[in-house]
Symmetry: C2
């Protein structure tokens, strides 16, 4: 079974479970079982809460927590990633679907299936095409700004449940804040009290309980498990409170209501061309954000155990999970941050933990849904609220702003765009702003006139070091790759450098910091060499990096320099030109 024949090797790459399941060690089982149970306890309330956030009936969140988890376990290269409904993706589902259907309506639920199918197919295709590196387009500050803003938007969206008020649907997040402010006077006292109690209990479970248990000598694993059981506790406590105090009938506290019992039936999303077109940007944004969140946490956890995660295989596995979600009454899923950490620290060793979680959720669907009838929505909102507060990331803003204003600007732009224009526009504007600022920076390269440090072969910036120079030779170092962002400026830059010094006969472009010259810039260099020649100045190039030099040789660029030459180093140029 452990053979590595040419037949089984590709199979194991495509289907990682084929590699680990045959070699499953009994000693791993206790950890997988523990993790499976703890994650299920976390996922039952979260699944329902995130479905509510997405504007879907609570059972959809549970349906999305059965077969998709098993699909990921088959194909995923991470052994500890916990897939299922997550807050950020749920928010994106809500924002895209509410533009084309009424939340909670059958069409809305149908479109959620379609969106899961589109997301899944996109991920499968991108996985097969090995486009996993596409996440590189999102810079760290953009991700940070997006996450903070999305956390606030998610929090805002739950305030109506926390306060027990009804507000009209809004297009942009900032409008929701306004509507909430207007409805503050309608707050339901019973609902708010219940919410605050739930929040207090959730915080207590996280912060106060573990140290108490530690003093009682409870082991780390159990302390962690208890700390994560807060949501389950408030679900049970909240339901009992509604029952005991008759909060629903007598005080108008909103409850989850009837959840159909039984496993999800096979569903087929209604594929309509019109809806597909309308949902395409959302599907793309969900692929981006979902994949990013998933790979980030999967890598972090894998590196702790010196395991590895294959981004392309991850895309494929998430795609399989989303297609599974679309066929079994779910909605888009991805690897969740906090649940994966819990899965890992509760002892998950293999994907079996996820399979066990899925089986427990299935049992819940079969037997326990009647128990959720009186579950108050305010409690689910409290669970979301406490979960997302930790995502607001001011530390990165402070650090980034101090280190690099450009990065700080793209962080703030992303934040503002999410809040002002919504999550999908936000992530796109964020990505575009980071790229635009990168190009803008590249369009204004740092340029140094360099000279030789006496007695050495080192050429350094004459403004930072004591250097010697030649009277009629100017050594100019451009600290940037030469490509379209600065191609048009390049010519001006070289010509201006000479224009300021009438006695110059040779201009040496020191290319030690240039890792790439694109075709357009090459043309500019050639043009500039001609112009400089007319002004009696020869343009030389020195210190070309190997790959750049190879490429210039391919088009015989030295010939195009006229009376200019290509020198191996600035020192060689110095020797050759000092008596010229």
């Amino acid at each position: 079974m452990t053979s590595t024949s040419p037949f089984t090797r590709p199979l194991k790459r495509l289907l990682p479970i084929a590699a680990w399941l045959p070699n499953y060690r009994k000693s791993d089982f206790s950890g997988d079982l523990m993790a499976g149970v703890v994650v299920a306890i976390m996922l039952i309330p979260q699944g329902m809460a995130y479905a509510m956030l997405a504007g879907l009936p609570p059972q959809v969140g549970l349906y999305a927590s059965v077969i998709p988890l098993i699909a990921y376990a088959l194909f995923g290269s991470s052994k500890t990633l916990a897939v299922g409904p997550v807050a950020m993706v749920s928010l994106m589902v809500a924002s895209s679907l509410s533009a084309i259907a009424v939340p909670g309506s059958p069409e809305y639920v149908g479109f959620a299936l379609l969106l899961a199918l589109m997301t899944g197919v996109l991920q499968l295709v991108m996985g097969v095409l090995k486009l996993g590196s596409i996440v590189n387009f999102l810079s760290h500050p953009v991700i940070s700004g997006f996450t903070s803003a999305a956390a606030i938007v998610i929090g805002l969206s739950q305030f109506k449940h926390v306060l027990g008020v009804s507000i009209p649907g809004t297009e942009y997040p900032w409008q929701m804040a306004r509507e909430l402010a207007f409805s503050l006077l309608d707050t339901s006292g019973a609902t708010l009290s219940l919410s605050l109690a739930a929040i207090a209990v959730l915080i207590a479970f996280r912060k106060a309980l573990p140290p108490m248990l530690a003093r009682l000598g409870v082991s780390q694993t159990w302390r962690d498990a208890v700390a994560r059981a807060g949501p389950l506790a408030v679900v049970v406590g909240g339901t009992l409170a509604v029952y005991a105090l008759d909060l629903h009938q007598a005080h108008g506290v909103k409850i989850v209501g009837e959840i159909p019992q039984g496993l999800p039936s096979l569903t087929s999303p209604q594929v309509s061309w019109e809806a597909t077109q309308k949902l395409a940007p959302a599907a793309l944004a969900i692929v981006f954000v979902g994949f990013m969140e998933s790979v980030a946490i999967a890598r972090t956890l894998a590196s702790k155990r010196r395991e590895s995660v294959e981004p392309d295989q991850e895309l494929f596995a998430l795609g399989a999970a989303n297609v599974a979600a679309s066929l079994t009454g779910g909605y888009p899923v991805t690897g969740g941050f906090s649940r994966s950490v819990v899965n890992f620290s509760a002892g998950a060793r293999t994907g079996l933990a996820s399979i066990l979680t899925a089986m427990l959720i299935a049992l819940t669907l079969l037997f326990l849904t009647p128990l959720f009838y009186l579950l108050p929505k305010a409690v689910l909102a409290a669970i979301i609220l406490v979960a997302v507060v930790g995502l607001i990331d001011l530390k990165t803003l402070r650090l980034v702003w101090q280190y690099d204003r450009y990065d700080g600007v793209s962080l703030l732009l992303t934040f503002a765009a999410v809040f002002g224009l919504g999550v999908e526009s936000g992530i796109l504007i964020g990505a575009a702003s980071a790229i635009a600022l990168h190009l803008w920076r590249a369009s204004r390269p740092h340029v140094a006139v360099v000279g030789r440090i006496a007695g050495s072969e080192h050429f350094r910036n004459e403004q930072r070091h004591q250097v010697e120079t030649l009277p009629d030779v100017l050594f100019l170092r451009i600290d940037e790759n030469l490509f379209f962002a600065n191609a048009r400026k390049l010519g001006d830059l070289l010509i201006n450098a000479v224009a300021q010094r009438a006695d110059i006969k040779h201009l040496v472009l020191v290319a030690s910091s240039i890792n790439h010259i694109d075709a357009g810039s090459l043309e500019v260099l050639e043009d500039t060499a001609h112009k400089l020649h007319d002004a009696g100045v020869a343009l030389h190039i020195s210190d070309l990096k190997g790959p750049v030099a190879d490429r210039l040789k391919r088009v015989e660029f030295e010939k195009h320099l006229g009376d200019g030459r290509i020198f191996l180093s600035a020192q060689h140029a110095w020797e050759a030109l000092k008596d010229a």
Copy 2:
């Protein structure tokens, strides 16, 4: 009048005419007059032809050749740029307007005014905000691919006039090719004969006539003038042929028909919010393409006379010209490539040449429009066809492909996108592809293990040079800026480099090719330093560029490296670590 008082200096910058007109030299007048006349002779047929290409009545092209030229002459920093209708922008006008109105209808003409207004306002605002460098986003290969494809699309769009057939409107250029193929059998013999004759005459004027005149001893200036008079000749000849042979009534050759006599009246574009939204992408694309074409030729011509062109001022002046076009019955204009070259070589010294051209066009509108009644559309189509053939640029494709596949791919992608999806999508996809390929390249940086060239302080790639190394120190040079495109790979890269060599205790990142480290990459470096530390390896950095080093100092980065250090150069690191 030549004072440079604090009051007049800003005026002269905003209104360049205020600088040159008061100092106008009589000796410049003959050149300006000659150029003004030659360009007018060229512009009359071209203006009508390009208006037809844009789906507008012929007089609109003439209206766009009066006040907009004067507006540009007031504000433009180029003294020889010939503004007016151009092929590429006309094509973009056609493709965007035909989606929302019927070509030639009053609404269509009204939307053309709105589009000119939007283009103009955008350019004015961008000029004031000094956003001229935005054209840097378009790489040379993208521009080349776009121009070639647009030339073919323009040519295709004229074939129906050349053949004298009617084809239904199409959404994408490739569909037009299909419709044309289907309609070949309906070709009008008379129209085709006329078209071929016109094409032959146009080519003869360009290629055959100048050498003949040269042999007759005619001066260069006059030869050039005659060579450019081809369009006028075919306009006159074609009109006479229609009249003499009764081609319109008897043979169904389509004619221009009645052109209203007189100057354009003041128009006010119908500004509707809905239309503005729909036209916004087109306006943006026209700003891009129009500005690019204009600045490229203005710069080329200015540099020949050691004059200078201010991109931001150019944006402002083109904006003024477009706003003028929208107020006087025109449509979007820009600086034309071939007309500017003619203007320059016919002797234009100042903007007065353009003002004279405008006056001649105005006289034409006042007195000569009845003469164009019988002008055949096939002749105008022939003029366009001959003009755009020269824009198809296979040379750049060949050169670029040879030098750099990435650039070649973005050229071909742009070409295919213009042809398959239309001009606006084409230019956007082109720009995006160049940026994506730039990031993709940056995400896979060249990495070299470097060693010391014996007896020197130079550190070079050990695969290219004979170098000495230290047994437990690895010097790694990464030839790329560290930013979001490669931040995620950076950690893997450093760790893999060490993983392959078990005996390494120090990893020195030689940063001589790194011009910038963004916030996210800094975090990756810090994480990686910790991971390497756990594996018993210290991460050092050497050869930081001044500005990069300054920035790292600001956040006291050396402290975050753990047991790693920042060295001035690889040589310093060598000395410090060789006995460690």
